[in-house]
């Protein structure tokens, strides 16, 4: 990771939150949890308003022109921040690995590379960049953790969430047999090939059940909604949350797919 | 046929956006062929010779071969004993190599040996080995009048008589020996590198020995 403009510790890092389209629409609590964790670690957090999406749906459908247009928008919106942090491995990976390759124009390519060098997934940012080693949260439960594919393979997110979870009071971690196997979400894949996606998420669900955990955590909302939807269709009592929620002490809110009866 | 050849070669050159290699580019690939560079060295077999021998034995056994370490005078007796231990008939086809003939078979009165190539009816073969690789427990056979390839493949049981001094660390040293012995322009018709008996995992991915080649391999590692 390259040096950010404010390398000195004299002023807090100016972080821009990349909300992600799924968090914005389906689970804002994840965004607030991310803000809380970043502020507690000493950053100031802003949310550029003109952000929508990282462009993956277009990118993975082969529409490079639209992807480029969206990327240009993101580059503009996130200009000037020390760091751009997303509570998502797939969006974080899109910004930091795939944006530069979209542009032939040298000027845009340079700006994309600059953004890439400042873009992070939330867990990796907290642990690897800010040096956070523990959180003050409490969560009484047996938890299992799914390693979302992009975060794991593109960004090396594996130990960081586990490290922070280990500091959560009352929390026990039970690993799945295959935490690194894809859950079957894959963006549009789950609706283009629903039968295959279902086969994959069914296996994941069995793996989760075998851990005896009462809570499933991961770092990507797409994966989480996919797994929650399957677990609930199967009548499972396992609650599903984004790892940021538990780390930020918001683990008592309604979980994904659970009716929200106003508990805050 | 010449047209087809040109069609393919020109297709390649068109895609690579260049003509035939020439000048420095040509010199570079020719030099690379003349002095082949090695890949990353594998530390596992970079050992002193006695340890190489031990490593070879370890890996050969891990791959379902059996190994007996013997003195030259014990070779013939060990062959007889091995056959008896395994309830095999005391007969074998033996490679017509001077090296094998140099062991004393005369005291094995019950052992019936035929010199030559392998036939479909042979149960046991005895061959030497050109070299062996400690890194993987592999024996290396070079074909020739002294070592018919059928002896490596047809019989159920293959007995290999291997000299300790022919055990090297890795593939690279085998290639060096082959080039030194034959020249890179005249490699033997077949070089078999063999690691344990024949096997297959094609039924439910569980390993079974003796798919088409030998079911059993016994390696005599001969000290000198």
């Amino acid at each position: 990771m390259s040096q950010s403009p404010s390398a000195s510790s004299s002023r807090p890092r100016r972080v821009a939150l990349f909300v992600t389209c799924l968090v914005d629409l389906f689970r804002p609590a994840v965004g607030f949890a991310a803000v809380k964790l970043l502020e507690e670690a000493g950053c100031t957090v802003e949310v550029p308003p003109l952000q929508v999406c990282c462009g993956q749906p277009a990118y993975n459908s082969g529409d490079r022109a639209t992807t480029r247009a969206i990327a240009a928008q993101v580059i503009d919106a996130f200009e000037g921040y020390d760091a751009v942090v997303a509570p998502s491995g797939s969006c974080g990976g899109m910004l930091s690995h795939h944006y530069p390759g979209l542009f032939d124009d040298p000027a845009m390519k340079a700006r994309a590379e600059n953004l890439a060098s400042r873009s992070y997934e939330l867990m990796a940012f907290l642990v690897d960049v800010l040096g956070v080693t523990k959180v003050a949260a409490q969560y009484d439960g047996r938890v299992t953790y799914h390693d979302s594919c992009s975060g794991l393979r593109e960004l090396g997110v594996k130990q960081q969430p586990r490290r922070l979870l280990a500091s959560v009071g009352g929390l026990k971690l039970s690993e799945m047999k295959s935490p690194e196997v894809c859950c079957g979400f894959g963006g549009t894949f789950c609706v283009k090939y629903p039968e295959i996606s279902n086969a994959m998420v069914s296996e994941k669900s069995a793996d989760i059940a075998a851990t005896g955990a009462d809570t499933l955590l991961a770092g990507d909302l797409g994966c989480l909604m996919n797994m929650a939807g399957k677990l609930q269709r199967e009548g499972s009592a396992v609650r599903v949350r984004h790892v940021a929620e538990v780390l930020a002490g918001m683990g008592d809110q309604a979980s994904i797919g659970e009716p929200d009866l106003g508990k805050r | 046929m010449n047209e087809a050849r040109l069609q393919i070669l020109n297709g390649i050159r068109r895609s690579l956006q260049r003509g035939e290699l020439s000048g420095d580019a040509l010199k570079a690939v020719e030099a690379r062929l003349a002095e082949p560079p090695r890949g990353p060295a594998v530390a596992r077999a970079a050992l002193a010779q006695p340890d190489k021998v031990a490593l070879f034995c370890q890996w050969a056994e891990a791959n379902n071969a059996t190994v007996a370490r013997v003195a030259p005078a014990e070779v013939a007796a060990e062959v007889s004993a091995y056959l008896a231990r395994n309830n095999l008939p005391a007969e074998a086809v033996i490679a017509p190599s001077p090296q094998l003939a140099g062991y004393d078979w005369s005291n094995q009165k019950m052992l019936s040996l035929r010199r030559g190539r392998g036939e479909g009816s042979d149960h046991v073969s005895i061959t030497g080995a050109f070299a062996a690789i400690a890194e993987t427990g592999t024996v290396v056979m070079a074909s020739g009048p002294e070592h018919p390839v059928t002896l490596n493949l047809l019989p159920d049981t293959h007995i290999v008589v291997l000299r300790e001094s022919d055990i090297v660390g890795g593939y690279e040293e085998v290639w060096e020996r082959l080039r030194a012995r034959y020249g890179k322009d005249r490699m033997p018709r077949t070089v078999n590198t063999i690691t344990g008996p024949s096997r297959t995992g094609d039924i439910e991915q569980a390993m079974e020995l003796g798919a088409h080649g030998p079911r059993r391999m016994h390696v005599l590692v001969v000290r000198e």
Partner: protein
């Protein structure tokens, strides 16, 4: 081989409903990946060897014409022959003529994906020549008239019971009338049946894992030894290999061998790795009198120099499909042609066209596991994405998808409008989903809700709406 790739969705349905296949896949998923992991852990130099393997293949591809010519020179100097086959048709014709020149009635074949690709067996049969598959897995599927479902374990989709039934059906006329239950008995029966066929065959035909330019050798990696019997007993040995199999030197082969066996089966080395160089020499007591290498292009030279070039590095280890969760759910036949799994998703559109095989690169979540285990570091997800780009450019993407994408793109480029509309959607989804917290059916989301519930957003508005609210 005839393609059913256009029927991908039907193939998938059949695969998911096949209990024998699902049983076999459940074993495959755990077995291969665990063995590969252990083998990689045992060798500290493994990652460095992967990098080197990638570099060797890249170098070979960049100089492919030179190394092919060098290979030909060496083969010819030792009394062998090299034949150049630009198309599948050419390769079939050359091989047919070679077999006819020997008056061949049978050809002992070891496993060759390229032979499947050019539909060689059908061609030989039409000429009245019987191809005998000798690789145990290929032999089994030949009896069942099925194509291979994996590039190194062709019968991996079958259970032991299915193999026993097949042998009973086909071997009883040879006097084997007992239905076997033990694996070793099945292997022994096949060994016995095939042994006579090896001895009788007039021609042996093999593929090649590598063609070594330095020495003019073809290199074959097997565990059974069938390829070696095929290339030793008959009077003619024919090697069928595609152009990208050529590598420069024996040292390069050593690097590739070290990553090949470990990536494929988790072995340190396969049982048989063989170098064949030309026909038998004077004084040899066995070996073929004739050695012919047929080099096939069939669309590969056109891939060089393009963004798809990296697929030519493939050394056919099968690691990608062993680790692919999609392959693990549907098996190899669902892909509809010769090459399944991630490499199949990339190679098949190249060889038979993206119109026919377009589903293959689309049926992926881009999880990246394939790329993470590929011994020559082929960026398989990126290559699949390139196929999606080409489909998009050619308007091959299904209409509904294009329209949905166009609408989404329109909105995504207009953040304020997007936020207004998603704010509305959010409020509606939250309102109607409040009681249950989730939807069991949802308009436009049938693909999702068929199998899963759809979580409802909690009340309160979108993140952006709430954030704006907090700031003011």
């Amino acid at each position: 081989m005839e393609s059913t790739a256009h029927d991908f969705k039907d193939n998938v349905d059949a695969a998911l409903a096949d209990p024998n296949l699902q049983d076999s896949l459940s074993k495959l998923k755990v077995g291969f990946s665990e063995r590969r992991r252990q083998a990689a852990e045992r060798l500290p130099e493994f990652e460095a060897l992967r990098d080197r393997a990638r570099d060797i293949k890249n170098h070979a591809l960049a100089n492919l014409d030179f190394y092919l010519e060098e290979f030909e020179r060496k083969v010819t100097a030792l009394g062998g022959h090299v034949h150049w086959a630009p198309t599948a048709e050419d390769a079939r014709r050359i091989i047919g003529e070679l077999c006819q020149s020997m008056g061949a009635r049978t050809v002992a074949k070891s496993k060759s994906m390229v032979a499947e690709e050019i539909a060689l067996n059908e061609h030989l049969e039409a000429l009245g020549i019987a191809p005998i598959e000798t690789d145990l897995g290929e032999y089994i599927i030949q009896l069942r008239h099925e194509p291979p479902s994996h590039i190194i374990a062709p019968a991996v989709h079958l259970t032991k019971a299915q193999v026993a039934d097949t042998f009973l059906e086909h071997h009883s006329k040879l006097g084997f009338t007992k239905r076997l239950t033990e694996r070793n008995d099945l292997v022994a029966e096949a060994r016995y049946v095939l042994r006579q066929k090896f001895l009788d065959a007039d021609v042996g035909l093999t593929g090649a894992n590598f063609l070594v330019a330095e020495t003019g050798s073809s290199m074959l990696v097997t565990n059974e030894g069938n390829a070696d019997l095929s290339n030793t007993l008959p009077r003619m040995h024919i090697v069928l290999a595609s152009i990208e199999k050529v590598i420069p030197t024996l040292e390069d082969a050593a690097v590739l061998l070290r990553v090949l066996a470990r990536s494929a089966t988790g072995q340190e080395s396969s049982a048989y790795t063989t170098l064949n160089t030309g026909p038998k020499r004077p004084g040899d007591l066995d070996g073929p009198e004739h050695y012919h290498v047929v080099i096939l292009d069939n669309g590969r030279s056109a891939v060089l120099g393009t963004e798809m070039q990296d697929m030519l590095r493939c050394i056919r280890c099968g690691a990608c499909m062993n680790h692919c969760p999609v392959y693990g759910a549907i098996g190899g036949h669902a892909y509809g042609w010769v090459y399944p799994g991630p490499i199949g998703a990339v190679l098949t559109p190249q060889l038979i066209g993206v119109e026919e095989a377009g589903n293959l690169p689309n049926a992926s979540t881009f999880c990246g596991r394939c790329e993470s285990v590929c011994p020559v570091r082929i960026p398989l997800p990126s290559l699949m994405r390139h196929w999606r780009e080409r489909e998009f450019e050619r308007h091959l993407t299904p209409k509904a998808v294009r329209q949905g994408l166009a609408l989404w793109s329109f909105l995504a480029r207009r953040p304020r409008l997007y936020h207004r509309l998603t704010g509305l959607a959010n409020r509606m989804l939250a309102l109607f989903g409040r009681a249950q917290g989730r939807y069991q059916t949802l308009p436009l989301a049938g693909g999702w809700t068929r199998f899963r519930d759809f979580p409802a957003p909690p009340p309160g508005g979108t993140f952006h709406a709430q954030w704006r609210g907090r700031q003011s």
